[in-house]
């Protein structure tokens, strides 16, 4: 029995190890959450590994027992005992119901806590107030509005490294899904509704962002860069934007709203009053997950 436990122990460890190996192979030069650049993505990755290791407890025994059974009870040698009517055993029955049940209790407990912990709506603990960004999904581009700075950028988003970002998201077209894989998970954007996402980049860097929900011909090209910079660089960038870039007025908006793949990111030095809420309200009868002024319902 003790030998058995030791064996399982080794196996659990080696599965975990194997998994880490596979993860590190994919992590090399990878831009998925498996190569995290922020606390959320990191927590997601650790959560994933935890599940795999716990699940190994029910999976590994099968991988050992199955080949053994096939070998021992093969017809040719008639080596194992043959009991064609053997059909039940209480101890085994308790084990095969009990073990998965215990595993599910453990994983379920963990799931419950992690769901709250890693809820994208949950504000991130930090000393600073989060940077507010409003994102609008269009075909096939992302518009980012910085309400506090009153500027906007398209297919490029500037955030501050080490400071939480709070995205409010909606769609000016079909449903899409917003994601910056190295920073965290994704959330749908829907016309007439607002969803939210809190993210944090630990270090300065460039991270790929995209829409993950198929939305037609330009889908594969709907990508953007998230640039995490220092607060000073961010402020300098914002000032430069306000000073030198054209306004995002109704004419510019009309152009953006047409389906197209943009050759390069765009910037706007000012934003028409109430653009974000206007896009939402434009779909009359829409029902926001959040009030138009940004507070929760």
């Amino acid at each position: 029995m003790r030998r058995h436990q030791k064996l399982t122990n080794i196996l659990v460890r080696s599965t975990g190890g194997l998994l880490l190996l596979m993860l590190s192979v994919t992590a090399a030069a990878s831009n998925g959450f498996i190569n995290p650049a922020g606390p959320i993505a990191e927590a997601l990755r650790d959560h994933l590994i935890f599940i795999v290791v716990v699940m190994a407890v029910v999976i590994v025994p099968l991988f050992i027992a199955l080949p053994w059974t096939l070998w021992r009870y093969r017809l040719r040698t008639k080596s194992g005992s043959y009991q064609p009517n053997w059909e039940f055993s209480w101890p085994l029955e308790i084990l095969i119901w009990g073990l998965p049940a215990v595993i599910v209790v453990i994983l379920g407990w963990n799931l419950w806590h992690q769901s709250y912990e890693l809820d994208p709506y949950k504000p991130l603990a930090a000393t600073e107030a989060p940077l507010e960004i409003q994102a609008i999904a269009l075909d096939w581009k992302w518009v980012f509005i910085y309400p506090e700075q009153n500027i906007a950028s398209v297919n490029e988003v500037m955030i501050v490294a080490g400071r939480p970002v709070h995205f409010s998201l909606t769609s000016g077209t079909v449903m899409q899904s917003f994601m910056i894989p190295r920073l965290g998970g994704q959330i749908y954007t829907m016309a007439g509704m607002v969803t939210q996402m809190n993210l944090l980049a630990s270090e300065p860097g460039q991270f790929r962002g995209l829409n993950t929900q198929y939305n037609g011909m330009g889908f594969a090209n709907q990508k953007f860069m998230a640039n995490a910079v220092s607060q000073t660089d961010f402020d300098a960038w914002a000032t430069k934007m306000s000073d030198s870039k054209p306004p995002l007025n109704s004419a510019a908006w009309a152009l953006l709203a047409k389906p197209s793949v943009l050759p390069a990111p765009q910037s706007f030095g000012s934003v028409a009053e109430g653009l974000f809420t206007g896009v939402i309200a434009g779909f009359t009868g829409g029902h926001p997950h959040m009030k138009a002024d940004g507070t929760d319902l």
Binding site: T26, S30, F33, A41, L44, H47, I51, M55, I59, L62, F63, A65, L66, T69, Y73, R74, K78, G80, Y82, Q83, P84, W86, E87, L92, I96, P100, V104, L107, G108, L111, S115, Y116, E117, D119, P120, T173, V174, M175, P181, R182, G184, G185, I187, Y188, M190, T195, Q196, R208, L210, T212, Q213, Y214, N215, G216, F219, A220, K223, G282, T284, G285
Partner: protein
């Protein structure tokens, strides 16, 4: 006619716009047209039309209906696999390169591939399998409503025909197999594509609802005397669960597609962005169907594995009651988890957590089943036939899919891998080993029963290795790609690190395709050498349930005398007690349903109706509608729907067969795959 113009014909498009993507499309259309021409010529040459019409198309015999379902499924499988390989090819060359397929063509490919695989490959396959096997296992002569059964078949076939027509006439949807609005609404997807999806799916969903009613009734009402519910083979139990799921789960789909149709045709606003429409309702309706659907597909496969593993281990199933309980729990729980398909829609942590935990709960009965199958082999005498190999590979591979399923059940992790190739890998990891391997195993297992000769084991095993290795090569890289942030439905990539993984996946897809080719070769080769492979006595594998107690192929009435059942593994019991192959004391007249042309007429009407709706040809809509309902009304005036086979004929046929069986030498299990196996099994000790 309607909105149909000559430019909609795929060959005209290829001619006018001769680029690679169009050539591929044109070639696919040509293959289809050519195939139809070849079949027509062959049928005429061999004078097969009459046989086709009287013996098959108008038949309401559950066995023939079942076989026709599986034929439809095979044809559709061929197309959908090729599409899968084509997509894998495109993706493997499209790293910083547009590749060969246009985004529009690629969009149609994943939509037809997904829709076909689910609705026109997997569904007909399981429906056909249940149709063929379940009544025989129950000791019944047919399903409860034979004509309804044929009508269901024809509704499904009509849906499949519409998808095939879209290859030549017009385009298919690019909205995926889920067809989420508002993208599939008229504003963002004008044109016929989504309409093809809507009508083909609506037709088949109605067919499946009727099938569910039919099967459930059969299982409740048509069992042989003594065949209590807890003596039924497990395949019947899983069929019952699937039927119940069909009854409850297909309706939301039918409703959702019809509501989408109202949006598109009549300016309604159920799912539009504006005027009060709300696509979230569609997502809920669709997955209220969609999740039970995966269990509709996989439960019958679980049933097949139970039969195959028990038979080829020469042993009764371990934990029969526990398997029944597990199956039933899965069926019930499958209605409580649909939200896990859109954890990312913003409903908040508590709702997500509840559905996540409900999803994980399904892991318990599923885990139990896996171990029950393992324990069924323990203390048995295991023979690694093709059917058994597929079942074992299922066990191993399915466990990995289960693991990734539990991973996806965690909302936080799902936020990171939703919509990614990780998800694509996960569901293929369930449906290929689960559903497809199950159906292939069932096909290998029951083929000799249906056609009277065994399939070649050599080609079967070649196919098995291709399917297995091909599966791992194709789909394991997709897990890695998903973790690396590669998303599904993507026609072109911009990350060089994806390239190697995608190339491996393409090679794997070629192997999968070879697996399919070997299945075809196996069929042809076995047909050619059928005389050495015949099993007239009907029991080539030392079977345990009643379907093995009659001849191969069975008479149209299945059982000359309805068997009396005294326990589980009914046929094994008879063999052990020396009661198998004994002449019954008396014979009685047998009443069987007459052939009917109602079902094919409804089928043709349904194709016409669907096509006319897609192309807004309103007069044809009216005509088809009238045809369908005239057939139904006319049928209600037919009073002589049954035919009597006199007792003397039954006696003559059955006694002749029994005499033949008694002459047959019994085959020990070691010689299962030799010509000595004529279908009479030596009792294993």
């Amino acid at each position: 006619m309607g909105t149909l113009t000559p430019q909609d014909i795929s060959f005209v498009q290829t001619f006018e716009n001769p680029v690679m993507s169009e050539f591929i499309d044109g070639a696919a259309g040509s293959v289809l047209v050519l195939g139809i021409i070849i079949v027509t010529v062959l049928l005429t040459y061999y004078r097969g039309w009459k046989t086709l019409w009287f013996d098959w198309l108008t038949s309401v015999d559950h066995k023939k209906v079942g076989i026709m379902y599986i034929v439809v499924s095979f044809v559709m499988l061929a197309r959908a696999i090729i599409e899968g390989v084509l997509m894998r090819y495109q993706q493997s060359i499209a790293v910083n390169d547009p590749g060969v397929l246009t985004p529009d063509h690629f969009g149609q490919l994943f939509s037809t591939h997904g829709s076909i695989m689910i609705f026109f490959m997997a569904m007909p396959f399981i429906t056909g399998m249940i149709n063929y096997v379940m009544p025989q296992q129950l000791g019944a002569r047919d399903v409860s409503f034979p004509l309804l059964n044929a009508i269901s078949l024809w509704l499904t076939a009509a849906g499949a025909a519409l998808v095939m027509i879209s290859l030549v006439v017009g385009k298919f949807s690019t909205g995926g197999w889920t067809a989420y609005p508002p993208y599939t609404g008229i504003e963002f997807s004008p044109g016929e594509g989504v309409d093809y999806w809507i009508w083909s799916i609506s037709l088949t969903s109605i067919g499946s609802t009727l099938t569910g009613v039919n099967f459930a009734t059969t299982i409740y009402k048509n069992r042989a005397p003594g065949m209590t519910l807890f003596r039924m083979p497990l395949f019947c139990w899983t069929s019952l669960c699937t039927s119940v799921l069909m009854i409850f789960a297909m309706a939301p789909l039918t409703i959702a597609t019809l509501m989408l149709a109202l949006d598109r045709y009549a300016g309604f606003h159920f799912f539009t962005n504006d005027l009060g429409g709300n696509m979230m309702n569609y997502a809920n309706l669709f997955w209220l169907f969609g999740h039970p659907e995966v269990y509709i597909l996989i439960l019958p496969a679980f049933g097949v594995f139970s039969e195959v593993i028990s038979t080829f281990s020469g042993k009764t199933i371990y934990g029969y009651k526990s398997l029944v309980v597990a199956t039933m729990s899965i069926a019930v729980l499958s209605f409580t988890v649909w939200l896990h398909h859109f954890f990312t829609m913003g409903q908040g942590a508590n709702v997500n957590a509840i559905f996540g935990i409900a999803t994980m709960l399904i892991g318990v009965p599923t885990g139990v089943k896996v171990y029950d199958w393992l324990l069924t082999m323990v203390r048995g005498r295991i023979r690694l036939t093709t059917a058994m190999l597929f079942s074992i590979m299922f066990l191993i591979t399915f466990v990995i899919g289960g693991l990734t399923g539990v991973i996806l059940a965690n909302p936080p992790v799902d936020f990171a891998v939703h919509n990614s190739l990780f998800l694509v890998a996960h569901f293929h990891n369930m449906v290929i080993p689960g559903v497809l391997f199950g159906m292939i195993a069932g096909y290998q297992f029951w083929f000799p029963k249906a056609f009277g000769f065994r399939l070649s084991e050599r080609w079967g095993k070649a196919s098995f290795w291709c399917w297995s290795i091909g599966f791992y090569l194709t789909f394991m890289p997709l897990y890695a790609l998903g973790l690396m942030g590669a998303m599904r439905r993507t026609v072109e990539w911009f990350r060089p690190e994806y390239l190697g993984w995608l190339q491996v996946a393409f090679i794997g897809a070629l192997l999968l395709f070879s697996g399919f080719i070997f299945l075809c070769v196996q069929l042809v080769s076995s047909v050619r050498h059928r005389d050495q492979r015949r099993v007239p006595a009907g029991d080539p594998w030392d079977g345990r349930s009643l379907e093995w107690s009659n001849s191969a192929p069975p008479p149209e009435y299945n059982f000359a005398v309805i068997p009396k059942v005294s326990g589980q593994d009914a046929f094994t019991r008879l063999k052990e007690q020396g009661q198998a192959y004994v002449s019954p004391a008396t014979y009685e007249d047998i009443v069987v349903p007459k052939n009917s042309m109602v079902a094919p007429v409804i089928g043709v009407g349904a194709i016409g109706l669907g096509f006319a709706l897609v192309w807004h040809i309103w007069w044809l809509v009216a005509v088809s509608f009238v045809i369908i309902w005239s057939a139904v009304i006319a049928r209600s005036f037919v009073t002589e729907t049954e035919r009597v086979i006199p007792a003397s004929t039954v006696r003559a046929d059955h006694e002749a067969w029994l005499a033949q069986v008694r002459e047959c030498a019994t085959t020990p299990r070691e010689q299962e795959d030799t010509s000595t196996n004529v279908g009479r099994a030596e009792v294993l000790a």
